[in-house]
Amino acid sequence: MPVKTIRQALQEALIHEMRRDPRVVVIGEDVSGGAGTEGGRDAAGGVLGVTKGLIKEFGESRIIDTPITESAIMGAAAGAAVTGLRPVAELMFSDFLGVCFDQIFNQAAKFRYMFGGKARTPLVIRTMVGAGRSAAAQHSQSPYHIFTSVPGLKVVVPSNAYDAKGLLIQAIRDDDPVVFCEHKLMYDLRTDVPDEAYTIPFGEANVVRDGDDVTVVALARMVHYTMEAAEKLAAEGIECEVIDPRTTSPLDEDTILDSVERTGRLVVVDEATPRCSMATDIAALVADKAFAALQAPVRRVTAPHTPVPFAPALEKLYIPDPDRIAAAVREVHGYAR
């Protein structure tokens, strides 16, 4: 099977769906990639190259460059979605959600409900999350938990290229607004990805690793750090079951609860800040629905409740790493009343 990067997997998903369905359009800042530069359109293919080549095949009526105004992008996309197109809109950095939150939070997410189920809003918002590039506090956040807290939005946080392609195709075919969060350090991660189109259902976690000792739930880049920690811990005789929820809304509660029923121990790893976060949400879920199974307190490994530091040394300390994850697992595993 061909090995592809997340960037390639996302591009394939866009191409499959744009060929399959003429209503699918891409709209965002610099999505043709290079307009106004010496190389012209398609010279860059978007800020991260995901949309490179699309303008040639699909033209400017379906690959729509916009002014630098997120509120206009999201407003146009929400309106287009509710009137019959299936836009894939780019919110380049999720940190910019503030300037277009009304269009997402109070419009797109509410249309179906406000129109008594008569309106559909098949809108996908692709957006970057994650720290690690010294992009400072305004370009490094992971606010998927903010989107997750909004009823009416579905939220996808993929961790590998196979999932990225299947989840993006699912997102485009879904009739509700979906926020699709891409970690900016993961575009070059590779794995086996079929050439064919396929879909991964929302609300279906991936059990990345089997283990009977401690359940570790992790998202996006933290899945890979957790797997690193799990290999080290296995050498010490501690077997982690690693669960990647893949979507935070809907959340596959059953897979998490079933696992904790078996292991009795839970660590949640989340690159986002800890207050009102996915780590907190999942910890609460387990405390609420699997309390009797717990043999140790739930541990959360998260960023601190601060902005993301610019200084590389501080940023490195800010992001959870395999050592911190392993330490939390050891603590939970060794806990005795």
Binding site: M1, Y162, G166, P194, E196, A197, Y198, T199, I200, P201, E204, V207, D210, A234, D254, T255
Partner: protein, 367 residues
């Protein structure tokens, strides 16, 4: 001579396995076919059997350890071998590692593509030699990996060809009418050898009968594993769950019905099944096939007369606890050799791979 038992490689994707249990203890003598140890992969658990008689002189890999393929598990040596020789053998053992991954990918067995009736099919070919080739036909919803424990056992003296039928695995998803005639046409078009032994499982068993009836001079022998086409009964719940399953829980329910011991089904097998089911076109293809073969939860394809008319050697192998197609259907194969295996469900070639491989070897011989 001192020899090694090493971690086997089952299927295209296995990289490591876990020693679950030693079924012979250190110092024990064993005969060919004796079960030596149980190995669990993320996909399935299987038993390693002895090829020849010997003595399990020393177990190197204790129960519970996970090791890469090729790693030393135990040492086989004649009883009088000095301990120092065994020590030296263990100390000097080197896992045969490929020089680098690029070479490995270039040389490792990879499925090739075959064109048949406008469809692209995957075909895994292993082995070479003058003996009559072996053709392997998987069942409804199966793929090349169906034969992971069997195909490597027959490639010493012959070509072995595992064909992935339309609608299955990564082959084209266009299944035409999806009926026995369509698949038999495709197999005939894809068959690039003069004469073959054929082994078919479930729906592939029915296709083996149909193929042998159509091309009697080209089919040397027929081995049927829990074949379809010999009676009306089939587990309707299984077919429906199998078709519907898009999530892990339903997939586990469906796949566990296939085997006598549900613990055989590992996480990776469930994941592979789901990855297949998620591909565009798969559910539609399976629906077309199911409608042609199992409308209203009954088998519509009847190959009893065709089977009875075959003149080449035929054998039927069935698990006594088959919960998909009842083993009682084997009585329809009046003239064939029939082997009913205890403690086996619908996948005899996976659940009792050693025994099924011996029966196939006895049928196809060395010619």
């Amino acid at each position: 001579m001192i020899t090694a038992i090493t971690m086997p490689k089952w299927g295209l994707t296995m990289t490591e396995g876990k020693v679950v249990q030693w079924l012979k203890q250190s110092g024990a003598a064993f005969a060919p076919g004796d079960e030596l140890l149980e190995i669990e992969t993320s996909k399935i658990t299987n038993v390693v059997e002895a090829d020849a008689a010997g003595t399990l002189t020393r177990i190197v890999a204790p129960e519970g350890t996970t090791l890469p393929i090729g790693a030393l598990l135990a040492v086989i040596a004649p009883p009088e071998t000095p301990t120092s020789d065994i020590d030296a053998f263990v100390a000097q053992f080197v896992v045969a590692e490929p020089a680098d991954t690029a070479t490995e990918e270039a040389t490792a067995a990879a499925p090739r593509e075959v064109q048949a009736l406008g469809r692209t099919l995957r075909c895994l070919e292993l082995g070479s030699g003058d003996a009559v080739p072996l053709l392997l036909l998987h069942g409804f919803g199966g793929d090349l990996n169906t034969w992971m424990f069997n195909q490597p056992a027959f490639c010493e003296r012959r070509r072995t060809l595992a064909l992935e039928l339309p609608g299955h695995g990564l082959s084209s998803k266009d299944v035409g009418a999806g009926d026995a005639a369509f698949f038999t046409d495709v197999i005939e078009a894809a068959l690039d050898v003069e004469r073959v032994h054929v082994v078919g499982h479930s729906m592939g068993g029915a296709l083996a009968i149909a193929l042998a009836a159509r091309l009697p001079e080209r089919i040397a022998s027929v081995t049927l594993l829990a074949p379809a086409g010999l009676g009306p009964e089939i587990n309707r719940d299984f077919i429906e769950t199998f078709m519907r399953a898009s999530r892990r829980r339903e997939a586990v329910t469906a796949l566990q019905l296939l085997v006598h011991d549900p613990s055989l089904i590992g996480r990776a097998m469930v994941e592979e099944f789901l990855r297949y089911k998620r591909l565009d076109g798969v559910v539609g293809a399976l629906e077309t096939i199911a409608h042609a073969w199992f409308p209203d939860g009954r088998q519509a394809v009847d190959l009893v007369a065709s089977l009875r008319a075959l003149t080449m050697p035929v054998q039927v192998i069935w698990g006594r606890d088959d919960r998909i197609i009842p083993a009682a259907h084997a009585v329809a194969a009046s003239s064939a050799q029939v082997h009913i295996l205890d403690g086996v469900g619908h996948l005899p070639h996976m659940e009792k791979a050693g025994e099924v491989n011996r029966l196939i070897r006895a049928m196809i011989g060395t010619g």
